[in-house]
Symmetry: C2
Subunit: 306 residues, 2 copies
């Protein structure tokens, strides 16, 4: 799915106005761009105000599926940012949007390996589900002859980050995928690590997805970055041309690749996980169009060029 | 690691004596060859007696790492089979044998995602370990700023089938592999499914290994089938030429591939997971030298040719 077209080396962003004027929509990754853990990154409110004052559409995209759109809305509010639910695209929402886009039958069920965000979005979209946090305490007694029953109406298994991951869930998801004819295998993302706390990197959704890949020998359909599903959905919903989008993120292999896969302009910010050394390393094959320290450089680079 | 050389189509075994006379060692997979779950397969004791009476060396190999050699010995005894511990090679033992083969330092520790068999074999070999079943009830509280401490002396993470698999273990193993310089990542096997009970297929060691591959983006060193580590070890330990070995198993992608990767003769038995239809399907690229219904065909095919 990922395309690794070689791009020319990234240029430092020098004239922010030129970039801003060249697009109509900015898609922002959240962690490492808007906030770090629970702290807002310096200058973000003023930057978003500037972009809104210029009539730009703002969209916030995250691979984190533990919260719903509504729950993310509260996080923005707590940080003092005026962002509406409709501007937020979390991979939890992307799961429900994907099921709608393929007319997934409402009489079928979704088995969830993941947290509350996915359940809330499925519920809002009117889908029946099972699994999720409540299966986190279930155990399997492997007595001779024991058989785990599973629901034959499960038509999709959705896998996202799950701190209550266990063998019960692996087996339930595996049985559904292997034994229910046509059962879909959908992943919110395959991120190796995630930033659940500021203190260290935590094993990400890629570990839960990897477990199911190992036991089913099937590849999932990924709805989060770097797959283009969310980009296609956004372009379609808002009627935007992809060349009129600038994707802004702190990760090369998700955010920047996501932007490039979608045919958008790309801006890497160094306020998250990627350092300038990593960007410029000969081992790095993913080059954004531009890079800068943080999004509030839009303010100072603007001032410098006026 | 796996070699997929195309072999000519498998032949039905017609003259067992000829095969028996052509080798000095038989390596048997256990589940689906010697027993199914907790039941001995018909004619096995007489077949093993016949092979011993002809002076053949017998070796029993299993990817299952939940038991130690000694614990497997008891299973053979319970089923009425006279097999010594030294003839049994489980992937739990292979882990310890591998660490010995590379002179893994005794002052380093091994973090185990797996069950008792691995712990027992590490203990017998004199290695320090942590993890295993006792981490099965550990939970992570993802409070802001929380950091999981890990032991910097962990020099190897071993991953095998683990019914008590959880996020704590995934994160501990991931931290060790990502942050401890030179830390090894060793898998007992990557089997998609395993036969913990007769009633259904269960997600196998491949799911635990897949989770760690997903979060570390590293590939493990596999000590079980179809990797040739155990074959090399056996050949070296007993001074056997690999062409003098016949590998007998019920699975194409582990047993038969294991035999072929090692340069041995191969015999598929249809008493386990593989049907004649699967063997002869155009999609199957793995062809053993011979196939037969069950190992006790050695007795009747012998009688027919005398």
């Amino acid at each position: 799915m990922a395309s690794f077209t070689t791009h020319a080396s990234a240029q430092p962003l020098k004239n922010a106005d030129e970039l801003i004027d060249s697009v109509e929509t900015f898609i922002f990754d959240c962690d490492g761009v808007i906030w770090k853990g629970d702290s807002l990154i310096e200058g973000v409110p003023e930057t978003l105000d500037l972009l809104r004052s210029k009539g730009k559409r703002l969209v916030f995209v995250t691979n984190n599926s533990t919260k719903s759109r509504k729950q993310y809305g509260k996080k923005f509010e707590t940080l003092g940012l005026d962002v509406s639910e409709e501007e937020i695209f979390a991979s939890s929402f992307a799961v429900a949007a994907y099921l709608k886009s393929i007319d997934f039958p409402k009489n079928k069920k979704v088995y969830v390996i993941g947290e509350e965000g996915i359940l809330k979005e499925l519920e809002l979209a009117g889908y029946q589900y099972l699994g999720g946090p409540e299966d986190g305490s279930k155990k399997i007694e492997l007595k001779p002859g024991f058989l785990m029953e599973h629901d034959e109406e499960v038509g999709a298994v959705v896998v996202g980050f799950d701190r209550y991951f266990n063998y019960y869930k692996v087996q339930y998801g595996t049985l559904s995928i292997r034994e229910n004819p046509g059962c879909l295998f959908i992943a919110t993302n395959r991120d190796a690590v995630t930033h659940l706390t500021d203190a260290q990197e935590w094993a990400g959704g890629g570990s839960m997805v990897g477990a199911l890949v190992g036991s089913t020998q099937r590849e999932p359909l990924v709805v989060g970055k770097p797959s283009t599903f969310m980009m296609d959905y956004l372009a379609d919903k808002f009627g935007i041309q992809k060349s009129q989008i600038c994707m802004v993120g702190d990760r090369l292999d998700t955010d920047i690749l996501f932007g490039q896969n979608g045919g958008c302009k790309t801006l890497l910010v160094l306020s998250g996980v990627t350092s300038l050394t990593t960007l410029q390393s000969p081992n790095n094959k993913i080059q954004p169009d531009f890079y800068t320290n943080k999004i509030s450089d839009f303010l100072s680079l603007k001032a410098a060029t006026v």
